[in-house]
Symmetry: C2
Subunit: 650 residues, 2 copies
């Protein structure tokens, strides 16, 4: 482990203009489909969909309309996530009409804010007088956090301060309500989010009160006597959602102080958001306890509880982690939102220390679970991303009640689609981590960036053929005296070669998975990185019993899967040969140029077998077959059928 | 399929005196441990256990005590099942002190009966006036059924009629309340049981009103408008347990008329009890529709939804079946009670038609799930009988919330232990099915039986070395002019040889899995049956994805399993060699002489692997190891550890 020195920086969305043959299409979907659709939904204009009420709640709280609060206690956050995503899109493409809409929403939000700074439509409209009485369940600080993220995004894109002022006033109010002073409330939110938002707000405002408040929330978490029990008593035992959420304190990572937490437990999204805040705080303050907690929890998550698709959350109950090395493929929860959170966490870790594992994990989650969560037309989404699906059984066995064999229209539940939208719309900020004058590439995503270094502004263009080909090219558009590129060599790559202006560079220094290019680069210089992209047979840790004797096929960052559409029914009868060579083929059925993989294998076969369920000393025959794998993210776009990532190998 | 002619008979418990080195020890446990313990429990005398209230409820209903009803709405059935089991034990060993206790309980029960015949402590004490208003949930007819079974058992053992008179009066009352006449209630119980009990009551009393009533309940089931919805409306929407039990009509097999039901669905115990009643009715009446339903439902259950251990119920949710070929080993519900029910069903099927499958299934369920459900000391029980357990994970992943790695004290929930008790105490009645003058052996359980045939009483003694050795011996103690033995050749047997008075019989006729012995047998004649008992590698149907590439080891009727205690941790890393020969060894660790099985195999091994969860192109090594299998029923008697039945084979 390296130790922290000066914390590394990341770019704002405005600093990185994405222009990438692969990623731009997703961002266009967000801009042209997801955001307009979501705006209609927030305004209850989608025929046949359950109303959202989210905009109307703000209008009612603002006194612009009469009525009752509608929807979940955290309905406000849907508006916030939408504004946040819009802000990111505006950062690269200002759009007057869209800004006009947002400005009007912000006017309403500002009117809904109380004189003391408090802002929450549920408590304003439905339960006035009950503010901060059910932190465990009622998401007030969670909603505050999302509004802070929205304000920062919109401010950074447009320079407009109105919402930023609103959230600063709100944050100042929160800072007056919570704390260790007499009369202040010692508490924290059941759903972490305020912590990471306060750190961002500090970065924008420079106000270190927000850092202190973040630290307070993190240190307070899990202390005894327990907040949830105390406030439950105070409010006379009323429960908003469900008693078990209060009793099972691991669910919200409040079972013990963070300093004592050693493993990833509970609701995976909450965990990832909490850790994002912890790592950010550690980076800004150098707090050893938080630094160690973030490393410890990352280690446990990455090394013992993450799916090969970059998904987390092995069970549906509590949308939660289970235990080390328990990674069921078919009953996985593997929520899309949790993979977004995992990427937030990874970015903050990349600022704490140099290690290619963080970029590797971002890539794994992005290319598989995050984009797999969205359909090719941007209109439907997976919340749950299993690695094995058997639709015929899923409908009848309750352990699969959460698993859907096809993506769902997003309006059914509002969490994952906006999270995907805001992540993809802000993809540019994940590409580089800047440490002094060295640019660490976390992601190979084409685009142009303007990076402020001590010596001036560096403009650098990146082009990438990922995930289909391993060719990456950097063009220095405007150089500064001395800067260095540190190129992440992905875990899936056998051999990386680098060329500067066409000349191969040999003997480069590799540090923590990064190839450090110490050559002086000037305007017009071209750096080419060629990453070999062999098809790999991935093996899972021997303690993971669900994958014993199985292999998963991966090429570059893409994990592959078998689908019934290409391979027939009963995918469990298929075996990939240990000796098989792989053959790439153009997979174009979904309208874009993808690469599929064929491999030799076997199918277990038997004569029709109907007179018994069990047979003595029977040996099935095996027939040679050709297996066709497609990228995991593209699954379930051709109707309902079986799918599996981990395939028996022999 | 054979067609029914004259329905075959079975023995009463009094007709078969079990005396078997294997089974007598279990029956002794029931007599000496389970029954006394349960009596204390029913009387709330177990320190530290949740009170039962069952006896006290009857005393309150009888006016002998004051107080409130305690416990479940079906608490009465615990008393009934206890009396039933005691009756079976008394059939072979009268016991004055025990009878005195039962007689006093029966006095109380009789006093608790209303003048019109109605009997149910919950509705008498807690909800007078609400009789028959929630048939879907409230188990009134279920409790009636169990009391009928108790009365029959006690009457057949002792000749005492008091409880029999009580239940006849109750059954007559039920017959007046339910029916198609104006003013009668058209309904049936949410939990089947009354049906099979009425058929038994008919056999004892000869009153065919009970057959008609049973038929009414079976025909009424699943008709529209639906009973559950209608009565819910009538009582103003109140729910006793949970709304979904009313909505999901498959849960209680009330989704459609029995004549249209084609597959086993819903709560496995209810299914098995219902089918027992259907088959019994079909046998007595020759009703083709019921005959076809019983065959159809049996077929689906046996051929597509039964575990190799004779367990049914693939999911915890609803303790229910899932769908064809879905047999998860680790999340199985596989309730002990359901295997008892399966044996009841099998016995009735054996009366309908000659087919060794029914005896095979009784044997499979008895030797594996039923006795596996009880600890070696008779003091603790499994309700859930998984075929794979990973205790470290079970505690953390909610899909395993129902799975316990060790047997539980029985008083926590009262269903399975009394069911095991009454089944084992009545084991004798399952041994033979008698068709005219031919004795079909369903089970090889040592004991002496007196069988009334047309020509007189046949007394025949059976001795059996099962499950350890395949030697069975019949001695004719008292012959009648002509009778025949039909010996079931179990599915696990390669070669069966028969000797009469030491001479091997060759060329015997095999019919539907039974070897028919046509030799004239006289007093003193000895028939010996030698069943080969090779170790078999069992293969599961290729559609069962959970067992693909795996084998289960079986010898005789016993399914075997690997335990961590003998094979170390990480049982999923073990592979049994396709070429392995098997070696028997004495397994005596549990205090009795059992036979274990050793086989050559491999353990996947790898160097310590801590730096990642996934590795590219990695091949684990395999080390030869010796695998030690023990009988499945004996698992979890040596502390908490991993267990698995289905093992990878290669």
């Amino acid at each position: 482990m390296t130790s922290i020195s000066r914390p590394a920086r990341i770019l704002t969305v405005s600093d990185y203009q994405v222009n990438d043959p692969f990623w731009s299409q997703f961002i266009q979907l967000v801009r042209n489909v997801v955001i307009p659709y979501q705006w209609d939904a927030l305004n209850d204009r989608i025929a046949g969909a359950e109303p959202s009420g989210a905009i109307r709640n703000f209008k009612i709280a603002a006194g612009e309309e009469q009525g009752e609060h509608y929807g979940m206690v955290f309905q406000d956050s849907d508006v916030a996530k939408w504004i946040e995503a819009v802000g990111y899109l505006l950062a690269s493409n200002r759009d007057e009409a869209l800004e006009e809409i947002v400005d009007r929403v912000i006017d309403t939000i500002a009117k809904a804010q109380h004189d003391d700074g408090y802002l929450n439509t549920y408590y304003t409209v439905k339960e006035p007088g009950n503010r901060w009485t059910n932190l465990a369940e009622c998401h007030e600080l969670y909603c505050a956090g999302h509004m802070i993220e929205a304000a920062i995004s919109y401010y950074q894109a447009t320079g407009k301060r109105k919402l930023l002022d609103v959230v600063c006033k709100f944050a100042d109010h929160i800072n007056s309500v919570f704390g260790e002073e007499p009369g202040q409330l010692r508490g924290y939110d059941g759903h972490q989010e305020i912590e990471l938002a306060l750190m961002k707000l500090y970065e924008v405002t420079g106000n270190d009160e927000y850092v202190k408040l973040c630290r307070f929330f993190l240190l307070e978490r899990g202390s005894k006597p327990h907040l949830y029990d105390e406030e439950l008593k105070k409010r006379g035992g009323t429960v908003h959602f469900d008693q078990w959420m209060l009793e099972n304190k691991q669910y919200s990572q409040a079972h013990e102080p963070i300093a004592k937490q050693t493993v990833a437990v509970g609701h995976a999204v909450r965990f990832a958001y909490m850790c994002t805040g912890i790592a950010h705080l550690a980076g800004v303050t150098g707090d050893r306890q938080m630094l160690e907690a973030s490393r410890r929890l990352w280690d446990n998550m990455e090394l013992k509880q993450t799916y090969i698709t970059g998904a987390i959350g092995s069970q549906s109950h509590g949308e939660a982690f289970t235990v080390d090395y328990d990674l069921p493929n078919d009953t996985a929860y593997a929520e899309t939102c949790a993979s977004c959170g995992l990427i937030f966490f990874a970015l903050r870790m990349s600022q704490l220390e140099v290690d290619s594992r963080y970029g590797d994990m971002m890539e794994r989650a992005l290319y598989n679970t995050v984009i797999g969560g969205m359909s090719a037309d941007g209109k439907s989404f997976f919340y749950v991303n299993p690695l094995e699906v058997h639709p015929q059984t899923n409908a009848h066995n309750y352990i699969y009640h959460h698993v859907k064999p096809v993506r769902q229209s997003w309006f059914g539940c509002a969490c994952c689609p906006p999270n995907v939208a805001r992540l993809l719309a802000s993809l540019g900020q994940y590409v580089y981590t800047i440490r002094d004058n060295r640019i660490y590439t976390n992601l190979y995503v084409g685009g142009e960036s303007a990076i402020q270094l001590d010596e001036g502004k560096l403009v650098i263009q990146q082009e990438s053929k990922l995930p289909w080909h391993g060719d990456i090219k950097f063009t220095v558009k405007s150089a500064v005296a001395s800067f260095e590129l540190a190129l992440r060599i992905p875990g899936w790559c056998d051999q990386a070669t680098v060329y500067v202006n066409g000349d191969q560079i040999v003997g480069s220094h590799i540090h923590q998975g990064y190839l450090i290019l110490t050559q002086q680069l000037s305007e017009g210089d071209i750096v080419e990185l060629k990453l070999s992209m062999p098809v790999s047979r991935m093996k899972c840790h021997p303690y993971v019993r669900q994958n014993a004797g199985k292999t998963a096929i991966q090429r570059g960052p893409l994990v592959y899967c078998l689908e019934e559409e290409d391979n027939g029914k009963h995918l469990h009868q298929l075996i990939v040969s240990k000796e098989a060579s792989f053959e790439l083929y153009p997979f174009t059925e979904l309208g874009s140029d993808m690469i599929g993989i064929k491999a030799q294998g076997y199918r277990r076969t038997s004569e029709p077998w109907t007179q018994s369920l069990y047979r003595r000393n029977y040996s099935e025959a095996e027939q040679p077959v050709q297996l066709s794998f497609i990228p995991y993210f593209a699954w379930a776009n051709r109707g309902i059928g079986e799918m599996r990532v981990w395939v028996e190998e022999r």
